[in-house]
C-alpha cells in the first residue's frame, strides 16, 4: 500500500487495518501531517497545529496495540478539534484575539472521550470568531478556504473542521452547532455532519456563546464514521446538567437495517421557499431516491415557522449575555461582524424575550406533531452552495440578496439549520449532489428526539446512491500530484 493511500480510507475501513497491525498509527499520522502541510497553507483550516504531540500520541497508540490494548475504532486515527473546545495545556482561542493566549487547564468532555479512545489530535481548527457566524471569515486568524474551490467560503462556524475532513487531512473533526455550525460547513464542503439531540452530548468544556442551543457534533467523510464518532461522545455527563440519562443505542449495529417502513415528511412551507434552483433540483432528486428505496413520503405543515426570526433574537440575547462583560473591556478586539450582530440584543426587553421563548415552544410543537405522522423530515441543509469569500451579495433564483453586514450571511445560509438548534431535535447533513461548477449540495434529515439512529440508517442507505459518493475536492485529494487549481 502506498503511504498516502491510507488517507482515502474511512475510519471504518482503516480501523481494522490498525487493529490487525497492517497499518501503524505512526504511519497514518505521519501521512496525515504531510497532507496537512500540503493543504492547510491554502485552506487556513488550523489555528494551532500539534505535530509533535500528535506523533507522540501516535507512538503511544502503537505501543498500546502492540501490547494487545486495542481501544476501538478511533484508536490511532488522526482527528481535529474545533478551537472552541478546551484542551488541557493547549491554547484554545475560540477564534478570538482576546483569547489568543488562553491555555485551559482541562479537556472538554468530548476531548477526554476521544483521547481515551486512542485518537490522535492533529490540531485546533479555525472557525468563525467566537463560533458566531456562517462564513469562517475570521478577522484575526484569516478566512478558511473551501477545499472544493479556494476562493469560496467553507461555511461556518466549524469551517476549519469541515475543510480538514473534506481535504483528507483529518478522518473526523469535532464541530459545534448553535445555529447550523456543523451542518452548514458539512453541506458546503461535501461531508457528513450531525447536530445530535440537545442533551445527547455533554457541552462541558465547550466555550459556548449560547447556553440553550449549542451542540457538539462530529464531521466525517461517511455516515458510518459519523455514527462511530457519536457513539464515543454520546451519553450522560454528571457534570453537565443539560445531558439526559437516555440510553445510548449502538448506532452502527443496525445502520444497514431496513428502511422500507419509514415515512418521511416533506415540508409544505418555509424550507423550500428560498432556494437556489440547483440545490432545489438536487434535494428533490434525493427525495425521489429515498422514495425508490421504499420510504413513503408525506407533505407536512410547520405553520409557525413564519415566526422563526424570533428564535434569532433568543440566540442574540444569549450571545450578548455571555459576551457583555468581555465587550465592555475589549470592544475593539472584536470583529465588526460578530460585535454588531450581538449588540441589537441590548435593546430587547425581558418581556420580548419571554415571548420569543413561547414562539420557540409553538415551533417545537409544530415539529413534534409532524414527527408523529412521519419518522423524519427532509430539507435542503443550506439554500445555496458555497459563494465567494469576499461576496457582498448573492443571487438566488435571479434575486440579489445582500450578505454584507452583521449576521446577513447567517440569515441566508443558516435559514434551514438554526431552527433545529431551538427545537433541540437531531439533524444530519450529508452530500446529495454537486452544482454545475462542482460545488457540494447538502441534504438535511431532521428526526425525533434521541432517534439519531433512524437518521443514520436513512443517511447510510442514501449515501450508497448519492451522486457525490466517492468524490473529493480534486485539487486537494490525496494521490493527486498535480498542484493545479480546481476549476469548481
Amino acid at each position: 500500500m502506498k503511504n498516502r493511500e491510507v488517507l482515502n480510507f474511512s475510519i471504518s475501513e482503516l480501523a481494522p487495518k490498525i487493529e490487525s497491525r497492517e497499518v501503524s498509527p505512526v504511519e497514518v499520522t505521519q501521512v496525515a501531517l504531510e497532507q496537512l502541510e500540503r493543504v492547510t497553507p491554502r485552506t487556513n483550516s488550523f489555528i494551532t497545529v500539534l505535530s509533535d504531540k500528535a506523533l507522540r500520541q501516535a507512538k503511544e497508540a502503537e505501543k498500546a496495540i502492540m501490547r494487545g490494548d486495542y481501544r476501538g475504532p478511533l484508536h490511532g486515527i488522526p482527528i481535529g478539534i474545533k478551537d472552541n473546545l478546551v484542551t488541557k495545556g493547549i491554547r484554545t482561542t475560540i477564534g478570538s484575539k482576546i483569547f489568543s493566549d488562553y491555555i485551559p487547564g482541562e479537556d472538554a468532555f468530548v476531548v477526554e472521550r476521544v483521547k481515551k479512545a486512542g485518537a490522535v489530535i492533529l490540531g485546533k481548527e479555525n472557525l468563525h470568531e467566537f463560533a458566531i457566524g456562517a462564513t469562517s471569515n475570521n478577522p484575526h486568524y484569516g478566512a478558511v478556504h473551501n477545499p472544493w474551490s479556494l476562493d469560496l467560503i467553507p461555511g461556518g462556524s466549524s469551517g476549519g473542521s469541515a475543510a480538514n475532513v473534506a481535504s483528507c487531512v483529518t478522518f473526523a473533526s469535532f464541530g459545534t452547532d448553535a445555529g447550523g455550525s456543523v451542518r452548514m460547513p458539512a453541506s458546503l464542503c461535501g461531508v457528513v455532519g450531525i447536530k445530535p439531540t440537545y442533551g445527547r452530548v455533554s457541552q462541558r468544556g465547550l466555550l459556548s456563546s449560547a447556553f440553550v442551543n449549542d451542540h457538539i457534533g462530529p464531521l466525517t467523510r461517511t455516515v458510518r464514521d459519523n455514527a462511530l464518532m457519536l457513539q464515543i461522545i454520546a451519553g450522560r455527563d454528571p457534570l453537565d446538567p443539560t445531558t439526559l440519562p437516555v440510553p445510548v443505542p449502538d448506532y452502527t449495529a443496525k445502520i444497514d437495517g431496513g428502511i422500507r417502513r419509514l415515512k418521511m415528511g416533506i415540508p409544505k412551507n418555509y424550507f423550500f421557499d428560498l432556494i437556489d434552483p440547483e440545490v432545489d433540483t438536487a434535494v428533490k432528486k434525493a427525495i425521489i431516491a429515498l422514495e425508490e428505496m421504499g420510504i413513503k413520503s408525506k407533505q407536512v405543515s410547520l405553520p409557525n415557522l413564519e415566526y422563526a426570526p424570533a428564535l434569532r433574537i433568543i440566540s442574540n440575547v444569549e450571545n450578548l449575555v455571555i459576551h457583555e462583560d468581555i465587550i465592555r473591556k475589549h470592544k475593539r478586539d472584536y470583529g465588526e461582524d460578530v460585535l454588531f450582530r450581538m449588540l441589537p440584543a441590548e435593546y430587547a426587553t425581558a418581556l420580548d424575550l419571554a415571548r420569543c421563548f413561547r414562539v420557540q415552544r409553538i415551533i417545537i410543537d409544530d415539529f413534534i406533531k409532524a414527527l408523529q405522522e412521519v419518522d423524519f423530515i427532509v430539507t435542503p441543509t443550506t439554500p445555496v452552495p458555497a459563494y465567494p469569500i469576499d461576496a457582498q451579495a448573492i443571487t438566488i433564483a435571479g434575486v440579489p440578496y445582500s450578505i454584507k453586514g452583521p449576521g446577513r450571511s447567517s440569515s441566508i445560509i443558516g435559514r434551514n439549520t438554526f431552527i433545529g438548534n431551538h427545537i433541540g431535535l437531531p439533524a444530519i447533513s450529508l452530500p446529495c449532489g454537486l452544482t454545475e461548477k462542482g460545488l457540494p449540495i447538502g441534504l438535511q434529515l431532521i428526526g425525533r428526539a434521541f432517534e439519531e439512529g433512524i437518521l443514520y440508517k436513512v443517511a447510510y442507505h442514501y449515501e450508497k446512491v448519492s451522486p457525490v459518493k466517492g468524490k473529493h475536492p480534486r485539487l486537494l485529494a490525496p494521490g493527486n500530484s498535480t498542484e493545479k487549481e480546481h476549476d469548481g
Binding site: 465592555r328 441589537p344 441590548e346 435593546y347 415571548r355 414562539v359 415552544r361
Partner: protein, 65 residues
C-alpha cells in the same frame, strides 16, 4: 419601523448598556429596527396559553413526552 439614535442613546444611558459611539449607534440601528419589526409581529400572537417549555425525552413507547 423607525427607531431613532436618540432613543437608543437614552436607553444606553438609562439602563447602563454597553456604551456606543455615534458611528456604532448608526451601525446597529438597522438591525434594531429589524428586531423591533419581528417583535411587533410576535406581539400580535396569542401566546398566553402556550404551555411551558420542557426538555425533550423519548417515552417508553417511543413517543416524545
Amino acid at each position: 419601523m423607525s427607531v431613532s439614535k436618540e432613543t437608543l442613546r437614552a436607553m444606553t444611558q438609562d439602563f447602563g448598556l454597553i456604551e456606543l459611539s455615534d458611528e456604532e449607534l448608526e451601525e446597529v440601528l438597522p438591525d434594531v429596527e429589524f428586531q423591533v419589526a419581528i417583535l411587533k409581529k410576535i406581539r400580535a400572537l396569542a401566546l398566553s396559553r402556550v404551555p411551558p417549555a420542557r426538555q425533550l425525552r423519548p417515552g417508553e413507547d417511543g413517543e416524545i413526552k
